[in-house]
């Protein structure tokens, strides 16, 4: 575990709060799914919160983020409001994608959050292209791309690793290795399960990180992002993590044992970090309760916002297929 030496109270509280914000929002999402307020596919990030929370802190507002269909946490921590995320999951037009994307396709322009991609590996070339644009225009920005271990078996993963390394592009590859591509365990899907080694074969710096340790994630991502930003070419981080919930709400979890899940829950990133803050005397009971209250309040506000949201008129169905003439805004660059 990364030592808490030097960690300030404020910093520790922010990290814990951010993990709680994701956890409480998603627990509520699961309930709302049972109540049929949220439909379609819903992929929960519960158990993996330390990755998004630690990694996002190393990015600046100018950087780009490309994520997957398990991206509620990334969007929230990147700065998309819980209200807009929840309204999107409800399918309301006040949602961040006007209800056209749903849980798997959260987008936001001000925070440069480019989805929400439900094709495994499909977002990786996109991040490479954004990095190419930055390099060609002389901007010192990082394009951070999140994807799972399953993506490492896709051709787009390998094509993109090669291209990014060949062209020395400022991409930060953030692989969230939760050991399963849907229901197929990594040892049944990958000939080499140490995914950082795969990236290293493309001659980029790559290493694995304890994805349950938010401080380790933050530290590793800072190191990698700074190297990328200062012209060091693409970097690859393999975050070892675990999904506590089912793949989606339709998953009976026949492919893994309860014992395995229970063992990983012993390393719950929130409980681990909470205990460490307490051990270091950086968190009191009152403070802890205060953080919990903040997280819960945010979720309740988000649900109220989504409930009060409105349905886009059906007459607008065919909008946003092609750009509308004016005032079509140029994408922020």
């Amino acid at each position: 575990m990364t030592p808490t030496d030097g960690l300030t109270r404020e910093h520790g509280h922010e990290l814990l709060l951010d993990m709680l914000r994701i956890r409480r929002m998603e627990e509520r999402c699961a309930e709302l799914y049972q109540k049929t307020k949220i439909r379609g596919f819903l992929h929960l990030y519960i158990g993996e919160e330390a990755v998004a929370v630690g990694a996002m802190r190393a990015l600046t507002p100018d950087d780009a983020v490309v994520a997957t269909y398990r991206e509620h946490g990334h969007a929230l921590i990147r700065g998309v409001s819980a209200e807009k995320i929840m309204a999107e999951m409800y399918g309301k037009q006040e949602g961040c994608s006007r209800g056209r994307g749903g849980s798997m396709h959260l987008y936001d322009a001000p925070t440069r959050f480019y989805g929400g991609n439900a094709i495994v590996g499909g977002g990786i070339p996109l991040a490479v292209g954004m990095a190419l644009a930055d390099k060609m225009q002389g901007r010192e920005r990082v394009s951070a791309c999140f994807f799972g271990d399953g993506a490492a078996a896709e051709g787009e993963f390998h094509e993109s690793m090669n291209l990014a390394a060949l062209w020395h592009l400022p991409v930060l590859f953030c692989c969230e290795n939760n050991l399963y591509g849907m229901g197929t365990g990594i040892e049944r899907a990958q000939s080499e399960t140490r995914l950082a080694l795969r990236a290293a074969s493309y001659r980029m710096s790559a290493w694995d990180v304890d994805g349950m340790d938010v401080l380790a994630v933050e530290e590793a991502t800072r190191r990698a992002a700074e190297a990328v930003r200062s012209g060091g070419g693409p970097h690859f981080l393999e975050f070892r993590t675990y999904r506590f919930r089912a793949h989606s709400m339709f998953d009976p979890e026949l492919y893994r044992s309860k014992e395995e899940v229970a063992a990983w829950k012993e390393r719950d990133p929130i409980e681990l970090f909470r205990q460490r803050l307490r051990d270091a005397e950086l968190l009191t009971d009152d403070e802890d309760a205060g953080l919990e209250a903040l997280a819960s309040d945010e979720v309740e506000r988000a649900v109220a916002f989504a409930e009060a949201g409105t349905w886009e008129p059906v007459e607008d169905l065919e909008r946003f297929v092609l750009s509308e003439p004016a005032p079509q805004r140029e994408v922020a660059s």
Binding site: Y107, G115, V331
Partner: protein, 342 residues
């Protein structure tokens, strides 16, 4: 008589300015776009040192350098996806895919990302990307280099699909494609690269909206696009010799289709033959005929006809390939039958 209107592209008069080749017209259009806007760059397999598989980009590397004439590895999905990402981050990429069959390796990016991002994001992010690719048969390249899948792509909402059939369009369509806020796919029939014709005239910019009446006529509408345009014009000449006046419509823009120009032609010829290098089943020709059926059924004197590619992967042997593709003879025969049955 003519159904043409001034705002629609016409056949350039024979006396028009200089002539050039289709290949050079595309090259000069790329050159002009890159000189005018430093956000524009060309990326694809062998576009740089090799000069382009069809020599379209020959000489551009020397003028613009490796950053902007960018040779890629054989990674269609990655470099098309990178084009999408670069477009979303402020660049104006022209991505060249060597041939339409290879574009299938990038179909995920084209369909699942380029065509959908604007909609999935509720209008937040558009993709101002141009993809050019060679298409079509007739060069004995067999079944993995010869198909015409323009109609497939024209099925997809979120894309614009164009098929320049003339030298003027080959050069003229790139500029409006680059200023378009959405992804535009340009299909260049490889048999056209050596064809000569009037050079694009900057005074007559082309659009990505209208079909063109390439030849006015009275008795039958021959509706086509891309590589079949010249075969169709030749067929119209042959028909003229036997007293049949054929009107030739060049669709030019395959998505969105200019249905009005098609219907206006059918309204005065009352007979229609579609010529489409795609396979007949589920073809663009089928879509055009369906639209005529929906909106101009009673304008037709006889059932419509189609000249499409035979339903086989294109064979290598010359006589078999020729038999599979639309030909002047098949177009003439189909037109005669339609007119004779009227």
């Amino acid at each position: 008589m003519t159904v043409t209107t001034p705002d629609r592209p016409q056949v350039a008069p024979e006396s028009a300015t200089a002539t050039t080749t289709y290949r050079e017209a595309v090259r000069e259009a790329i050159r002009a776009a890159m000189r005018a806007d430093d956000r524009v760059f060309l990326m694809g397999e062998d576009v740089g040192r090799y000069g382009g598989c069809y020599a379209v980009s020959m000489g551009l590397l020397e003028e613009f350098g490796e950053e902007r004439i960018r040779d890629t590895p054989l990674s269609e999905s990655a470099f098309v996806g990178a084009g999408i990402g670069a477009a979303m981050a402020g660049m104006r990429p022209i991505v060249e895919i060597m041939t339409v069959n290879f574009s299938l390796l990038a179909l995920d990016q084209i369909l699942n990302t380029a065509a959908t991002v604007l909609h999935m994001s509720g209008g937040l992010f558009n993709v101002p990307l141009v993809i050019r690719m060679a298409t079509g048969g007739g060069r004995q390249l067999a079944a993995q280099h010869s198909h015409s899948l323009e109609g497939w792509y024209a099925h997809i909402p979120g894309l614009k699909v164009v098929a320049p059939g003339t030298v003027e369009d080959a050069g003229g369509m790139l500029a409006p494609a680059l200023t378009d806020p959405d992804p535009v796919l340009i299909f260049e029939n490889a048999l056209l690269y050596n064809r000569e014709g009037p050079a694009p005239d900057p005074e007559r910019p082309v659009d990505l909206v209208h079909a063109a009446v390439r030849r006015p006529g009275r008795d039958v509408s021959l509706i086509t696009y891309g590589g079949s345009l010249h075969k169709t014009l030749e067929a119209a000449e042959a028909l003229e010799q036997s007293g049949i006046s054929a009107e030739v419509i060049d669709l030019r823009v395959l998505r969105p289709l200019d249905t009005e120009t098609v219907l206006a032609s059918v309204a005065h010829t009352h007979r229609v033959v579609l010529i489409d290098e795609g396979w007949k089943t589920g073809s663009l020709a089928a879509e055009v005929i369906a639209r005529i059926g929906e909106r101009a059924f009673y304008d037709l004197d006889v059932p419509p006809a189609r000249v499409c590619s035979a339903e086989v992967p294109l064979p290598y042997a010359k006589h078999l390939e020729e038999a599979a593709l639309p030909s002047v003879e098949r177009i003439v025969a189909a037109a005669r039958k339609v007119v004779g049955g009227g």
